[in-house]
C-alpha cells in the first residue's frame, strides 16, 4: 500500500523538476548536444586562430613538394602547389562560418516577421504570397541560389544576402503555421478585447510563444546554409578570403582523384562532414528539448 502511495508523488516531482529546469541545462544533459557543441567550438576556434597554430603556413607554396601523400611532416599530404593540407584544413573553416550563420540569422529575422504577418493577418496577401512561395519551392534551392550568385557575382555579402533571402520563405512558412495555431488560443482574443494594437499583439503577445519554433528553425536552417555555402564553393563559387576554403580546395583538386591524389580532396570533405554533423546534433537536441 505504502508503495502505491509513494509512487505518484515521485513522478510528479520529476516532471515538475524537468519543467523548472532552464532549457540550456536540459541541453547540457544530452550527449549529442555536448558532442556537437564541442566539434562546433573546435571549428570556430580554428576559424579565428587557425592560422596561428597550424604547423605550416597554409598559403606557403613549395613547387618541389607538390602532391605528396600524407607523411610525418605533412599529416594530410600536400596539394599541387606543395601547400600543407593539414594546415589548410585547420584554417579553412573561416568563410563558411562567417557566411552560413549570418545568412541564417538574416533569414530567421525576415522569415519570422513575414510568417507573423501572414499567419496573423491572413487574407488575400497570405494566399498570394503562399502561391509565389510554392512556385519558387518547385525549384531545388541550390539551383536558385547559384543562379543568383551567377547573376550578382561572388562575394561574402552577396552570398549572405542570397542565401538569407532564399531561406526566408521557408522559415516564414513554418512560423506562419505556428502563428495560426497560437491565434486559436484564448489569450489572443483576450488581448484584443483589452484593446491592444495589431503590431503589439504580434510582437509582444504572439512572438514570445512561437520563439521555440523559431529557435528550432534557426538551428535546422543553419545546417542547410552550411550545406549551401559548401556546395557553392564546390561548384566554383567559393568566396576568396586570405585564408583557405574547404569547398574551394575540393573544387580545385577533385579532378586529381583519378590520378590517386585522394588526400587533397578527402580531408577537406571530411572537415565539412564533421561540421555539418555537429550542427545536426545540436539542431536535433534543440528540437527534442524545446518540442518535448
Amino acid at each position: 500500500m505504502s508503495e502505491i502511495v509513494a509512487m505518484p508523488p515521485g513522478i510528479v516531482v520529476s516532471e515538475a523538476e524537468q519543467r523548472e529546469q532552464p532549457a540550456w541545462r536540459l541541453l547540457l544533459r544530452r550527449p549529442a548536444f555536448v558532442i556537437g557543441a564541442a566539434i562546433l567550438l573546435f571549428w570556430v576556434v580554428c576559424a579565428i586562430f587557425g592560422t596561428d597554430f597550424a604547423p605550416h603556413n597554409p598559403l606557403a607554396q613549395n613547387l618541389f613538394a607538390g602532391n605528396k601523400p600524407p607523411s610525418g611532416a605533412h599529416w594530410f599530404g600536400t596539394d599541387q602547389l606543395g601547400r600543407d593540407m593539414f594546415s589548410r584544413v585547420i584554417a579553412g573553416s573561416r568563410s563558411i562560418l562567417i557566411i552560413a550563420p549570418l545568412a541564417t540569422l538574416l533569414a530567421t529575422v525576415l522569415g519570422t516577421a513575414l510568417g507573423l504577418a501572414l499567419g496573423y493577418l491572413g487574407g488575400v496577401v497570405d494566399t498570394l504570397v503562399s502561391r509565389i512561395v510554392e512556385a519558387v519551392l518547385a525549384l531545388p534551392a541550390i539551383i536558385i541560389i547559384f543562379l543568383f550568385v551567377v547573376a550578382l557575382g561572388v562575394s561574402t555579402l552577396n552570398e549572405i544576402l542570397i542565401i538569407g533571402f532564399i531561406f526566408t520563405p521557408l522559415i516564414a512558412r513554418t512560423v506562419r503555421s505556428a502563428v495560426q495555431v497560437e491565434r486559436q488560443l484564448d489569450y489572443v482574443p483576450a488581448a484584443r478585447l483589452l484593446g491592444e494594437r495589431r503590431s503589439r499583439m504580434m510582437f509582444v503577445e504572439v512572438l514570445p510563444n512561437v520563439m521555440p519554433t523559431v529557435l528550432v528553425e534557426f538551428t535546422v536552417r543553419l545546417g542547410y546554409a552550411i550545406f549551401a555555402v559548401a556546395t557553392l564553393a564546390f561548384l566554383g563559387f567559393g568566396v576568396q578570403l586570405s585564408t583557405p576554403n574547404w569547398g574551394t580546395d575540393i573544387s580545385a583538386n577533385y579532378v586529381l582523384l583519378g590520378a590517386g591524389y585522394w588526400w587533397e580532396t578527402l580531408f577537406p570533405a571530411l572537415a565539412i562532414a564533421t561540421l555539418i554533423i555537429a550542427i545536426n546534433l545540436l539542431a536535433d537536441s534543440v528540437e527534442q528539448v524545446l518540442a518535448g
Binding site: A138, L139, L147, L257, L270, D284
Partner: protein, 317 residues
Amino acid sequence: MARYLLKRLGLAIITLILLSVIIFFAGQVLPGNPARSILGPLAAESAVRALDHQLGVDRPLVTQYWSWITGMLHGNMGESYQYQSAVEPLLRSALVNSAKLAALALVVIVPLGILGGVVAALNVGRAVDRIISLTGLSAATVPEFVSGIVVIVIFSVVLKLLPASAQAPAGSSFFTQLRYLLLPAVPLVFVLFGYIARMARAGTIEALESDYVRTATLKGLRRQVVIWRHVLRNSLLPTITVIATQTGYLIGGLVVVETLFNYQGIGNLIFQAAKDKDFPMLEAGVLTVGVVYMVATVIADVLTTLLNPRLRTEVTQ
C-alpha cells in the same frame, strides 16, 4: 473525384505559369548581353546590335515572354547560344541520362528508407531508433559532393572496383551503364534516406498507436501478421508523398553529383548554361525541372487520395 483532380491540376498549372514568369524575368536580370557573349569582346557594335535583333532580344519584355512561352508549348525551346543548335535534343538526352541516374537511386532508396523507418518505429525510443534517426539526419545534410568523394576514394581509388566517372562509353550494354552509375547513385541515396526513413517512421508509429492495430492484436493475430497486413499498408501513405516531393531535391543533388562524376545530365546542363549565360538553354532547363517536380507532386497527391478511402470521401464531399 474528377472535380478534385481538376482542381489539383488547375493549381499545378497556375503555379507553373507563375514559375515560368519568375524564370523568364530572372533570366533578364542576369547581366551580360547575349549577342556580345556570342560574338566576343572584339566584335563591332553594329554587328552586336544586328545579332540582338536577329535573336529578338531587343523587343519589349512582354512580347519576348509571350513568344518564349508559346514556343515552349509547341515544343520549340529555341536555340542554345553556347552550342549554336536547338535546345530541345540536347535537353532531351540530358533528361534521359538524369532519369537513369535518378531511377537507380530511387530503386535503391525506397525499400532501404522504408525498411530503416519501419525498424526505427518498431524500436521507438531505443538505441536502434536513435541511431537510425540521427544517421538519416546527418546523411541528409552532408553535401552530395562530400559523400561522393568518400565513396570515390574508397571504391575507385583504393579498392579500384568501380569507375570514378559516370559516363559509360557510347553504346555500352545495360549492365556496363549500371556499373558506371552505381557510385554516383550513392550520394543521392544518402541524402534521401533520412527523409524517407523519417516519414516511414512517423507513419508507422501513428499506425501502431491506432485503434485498428490494437483490435488486430487483441483478436489474437500474430505480431508479424499485424505489422505486414495492418501497419505497413497504412504507414506507407505519407512515404509516397515524400518520395514525390523529394524529386525536387533529387534534381538539385544531380547538379552536384553530375559535376563531380562528369556526367551529361540535366543538372550539369543547367549549371554549365548558367555559367556560360546561355539563356535559352538555362530557361528551358529550369522550366523542365519545374514541370518534372509539378508532375511528380500531382501524381503523389492523386495516389495518396486513391489509396486512402478516408481522404477520398473527404475530397468528394
